[in-house]
Symmetry: C2
Subunit: 308 residues, 2 copies
């Protein structure tokens, strides 16, 4: 499957009905472990679910509060991520209730309570397969919400010329993107950053309002190399104070912010709409730069070096 | 007080004996709210304390799990940060046990259980005053650990020519710093980033191992503008796997990593040593760039616009 075909599987992914079999009364806190394209699943989930504390671990270890009142969820597309396997083993030793979302590997073999998702994609192209089991388990979206989300993705699959134009602009100017988000889409900004890194093979960075107004804003007014960066705001905030911050930050620093907006009816359709725009933007940029968006051979080489 | 004098107050700050009066049996989770130079206090603390879930909020709202078994701590140097005031009001409404670390303002007036710290500094220069009450309350460091930490800071105050050289190098090349950290010093890397932003008025970014090996590493091998960035690794990891990752990432991508290291005897002296190196680096860079490290007038202008 080529990368454009992978992107088109997202519509089907968000229609997944899979969920984890968990008893909410058996835990009072959640730890979600994962790295990279799998790890962001926990981060995005932690912004849209806040009924219990969710701690996201992107490392080898887990916090010492992990106990038998903790639900530990390992998210690893391959099922063989060494950091996630290490965290999972520690979670078992700590008596956590463990669950997993994976397509196979060591993690599928060692966890009973799991959602097995289809393999064969790049992990970053399987975000829907990995996120929906958490959404279905803890947020129980309506049929209408799912339908709207699928329709949103479909519309972007059909017409993403706006993202092609923006990609051309970034390519023309050899810009470094700085993606600016806000709650509950702070991690969408980070997702875009990582998609630029992996698909387009360019450096990119992300931040969010209002935190960036306390530090990163300072050099926006004028510093060396600022014009080599492209500032992109993803989404339209519900909080009017955040919109005011976006407006005034741009105005007081004479920094044009390119806005990429998606207006869904629900959180879920807006969330996946914003994510999918970034998928196409970074895919088109890869095309212009003549790099293979699926190629992550460097990451594979690194894994081999670490295992020898 | 000029900025160099502000930096020299850190030694005294870490010797603070202040602590919060809290009953550990009265809460099972902690929310710490703060922005910018005050907000990072919660983030740094969340990496060195993990006996209970710590959720750091850098926004107007708080998670819905906040209840009467939640300890909410507002950290705001001025005591007038609008996001933190908003979060504090929500925490009171949710029945949280509230506490504060502040030098005054609205927050001092509205919270009984608080540590009042000395005013008159830039918030980012008061990190020790804000962090130590949390450390003293929850981690209870030994006299030896505090003495070593003060001695570490003293040594850096006395001789920071290594940071002056590195600042000169960044200034010569007009580099954009990318600061790479790892647990438990991931937020030290972010602190450096924000110090570059506020003190030196240049763009800077941060990331951490092992997460960056799953995405950001890809363009390190070769992309446009990469040579305009300066990659700096802060610290020496205890986990050998992280050190292997640093070594191989640099080697496989032909990317020189500048290492800034501090070898303390404890977590606390290493932590503050790494932080203080970044303070001097960004201060020296401001001198070379001929900008005032204390000036954050743009952030003040923005606050005024938002309040009218």
């Amino acid at each position: 499957m080529n990368f454009a075909e992978e992107l088109k599987t997202l519509k089907k992914q968000v229609q997944s009905k899979e969920y984890l079999n968990v008893d909410p009364s058996s835990f009072d806190k959640i730890i979600i472990s994962g790295m990279g394209g799998s790890g962001i699943v926990g981060n995005i989930f932690s912004e849209i679910y806040d009924k219990k504390p969710v701690t996201v671990v992107s490392d080898y270890h887990i916090p010492s509060f992990a106990d038998n009142r903790t639900l530990f969820i390992a998210v690893s597309y391959s099922g063989n991520t060494e950091e996630t396997i290490s965290a999972l083993e520690l979670a078992k030793k700590s008596g956590c209730r463990v669950a997993a979302i994976t397509s196979g590997g060591q993690i599928a073999n060692s966890v009973d309570n799991k959602v097995l998702i289809p393999g064969g994609l790049q992990p970053r192209s399987a975000l829907g397969y990995m996120l929906m089991p958490l959404v279905n388990t803890f947020l129980k979206p309506s049929h209408q919400e799912i339908d709207k989300t699928a329709a949103m993705i479909d519309a972007i699959d059909e017409d993403n010329r706006d993202m092609e134009s923006l990609a051309r602009e970034i390519w023309d100017g050899k810009f470094i993107p700085v993606i600016l988000g806000f709650s509950p889409f702070r991690w969408v900004a980070y997702r875009w950053k990582t998609q630029f890194n992996e698909n387009s093979k360019i450096l990119a960075f992300s931040n969010y309002f209002p935190e960036l107004n306390h530090n990163e804003t300072m050099p926006y007014r004028g510093t060396y190399r600022k014009d080599e960066f492209k500032f992109i705001v993803v989404g339209h905030p519900e909080n009017i104070k955040i919109e005011e911050r976006i407006k005034w930050t741009s105005s007081l620093t004479s920094t044009p912010f390119q806005r990429v907006d998606v207006r869904g009816k629900y959180t879920l359709d807006t969330l996946f709409g914003l994510i999918h725009k970034g998928d196409y933007l970074t895919y088109h940029l890869a095309r212009f730069l003549n790099v293979d968006p699926t190629d992550v051979s460097l990451i594979e080489e690194l894994k081999k070096k670490l295992n020898h």
